[in-house]
Symmetry: C2
Subunit: 279 residues, 2 copies
């Protein structure tokens, strides 16, 4: 388990760093970013928030555009941002932005040609935290968050692994992918035609049948162009109601799908996670 | 004076908007961004901070990467970010990143082929504020700030127009361009070989001989790769001392030339400007 440092920037008294490493789950070289808050300098082990990005993104989007470091520095939380898919010339791809590289959907693909590398679920749940916890002075307290496709990933991974995450949050998640064009296209490619195999990666399905209930917070912009066709928060809300799931949901007038929305509310998400991480 | 809206994003309760317009001074179509804080909705006229970006940047860098909107929303300040040069197929350019499009240095060029379009000083000092003040509910209270080449622009423009700006600030400015490779290359091209014509665009020269002293704040990262060869804050500090100029200067250990540095200290800059804008 070796990691190679690519870049370093001081930020709010802590450090933003990018690393590359060989991923066993993904069978390729991967890049991730970590924000190390100033508290880590004094030997304190800090908890980690994993941030999963949306379609077309890399580790850089949340680190450059969300302002997350300011609150992470105040609260003493490390932030880890993986890439959104396996990468490289040998890795299967598609010309569309919503399939292949940059669009891993955080699932373990079962279908060829995707299954050789597209094992993002295993990477995010197991390999990456193991690497982070072996390489940096962090505790084993974890939370997970994300945006759009990454909001789907955060909700799925958090609900499927309640023993591993203290809290879950999402901005504008793809909440019911089995009924959205993005989800149907990606799941058909990665998981095959049998829709029974899709249900384990559908946040609304998982929220209906969850038994250990990890606290969740979801924020959605009302002027988001993808709201009606792709995101479908109403399915998540119905699932939460049917299962008494502890979901805090807010719809925000005028906000869209961009990082301008995320930056406006990231502080509330970090304070939500900090409360649960400290319990 | 007509402007055309290109994009709108809600941000911290206010609005980030991009516009294009035909610039008379620059003789081409230009794009700018404005952040309108939530206070403007109630008919309040707010003051404006002009932000000048560095080499290779556009209106987007500060709006996407600095987190400036959070404090602008709190303090009720509009932020205006122009582009860094004239643009377009008809506009003279150079293959290097530090000359031509993206590298206007906020001067009025006198030499061919640059003089036809490269009149960024006039654009920033006169045309753009006139347009902003005619198009948006802002007051005529102005402050100016910027980064690197834009820090040079902010210091020059602020000191040359003390009646127009309440306060000046800069991150990592090119403080003594007549003695730096970036400055010498650009000034030779835009202003010609006679160095006497360069002195009016050199912040350290202007700070030595200023008579109306606009309060200024400069922050510099100690791990900035450009510090010694290109930025030369020591010249600015010597000038301030020789003229008793009200310059607040801070050198920050570990910080580099990136927006990670700017984001870490932008709040202090906005509070500095707010104090002077309200006087």
């Amino acid at each position: 388990m070796s990691i190679e440092n690519i870049s370093v920037n001081k930020s709010f008294g802590g450090w933003h760093k990018q690393y590359s490493h060989h991923s066993k789950s993904l069978n390729c070289s991967m890049q991730f970013a970590i924000y190390l808050p100033p508290q880590m300098g004094s030997g304190t082990k800090v908890p980690v928030l994993y941030w999963l990005s949306g379609l077309t993104c890399t580790d850089e989007n949340v680190m450059q555009k969300s302002g997350i470091q300011r609150i992470a520095a105040e609260l003493g939380i490390a932030i880890v941002a993986p890439d959104t898919s396996p990468r490289g010339e040998d890795v299967a791809d598609d010309a569309a932005y919503d399939l292949g590289q940059g669009a891993g959907f955080y699932v373990n693909a079962t279908e060829m040609p995707w299954s050789k590398h597209y094992q993002m679920y295993d990477y995010v749940v197991n390999e990456l935290p193991e690497l982070i916890e072996a390489s940096f002075p962090v505790s084993d307290k974890r939370a997970i968050s994300g945006h759009s496709m990454g909001g789907l990933g955060a909700l799925n991974i958090g609900m499927l692994n309640p023993e591993r995450y203290s809290s879950i949050s999402a901005f504008s998640p793809i909440s019911n992918p089995v009924n959205s064009p993005w989800g149907q296209k990606a799941f058909t490619a990665y998981l095959g035609e049998d829709k029974a195999n899709w249900l384990n990666y559908d946040p609304s399905e998982l929220m209906k049948r969850a038994t250990e209930l990890v606290p969740a917070k979801v924020d959605q912009g009302e002027s988001d162009n993808f709201l009606v066709e792709q995101l479908k928060p109403e399915a998540l809300l119905a699932a939460a109601e049917s299962n008494d799931y502890p979901l805090m949901y807010q719809l925000h007038e005028g906000y869209d799908h961009s990082y301008y929305f995320i930056a406006s509310f990231i502080e509330e998400h970090l304070r939500f996670h900090a409360k649960h991480l400290s319990q």
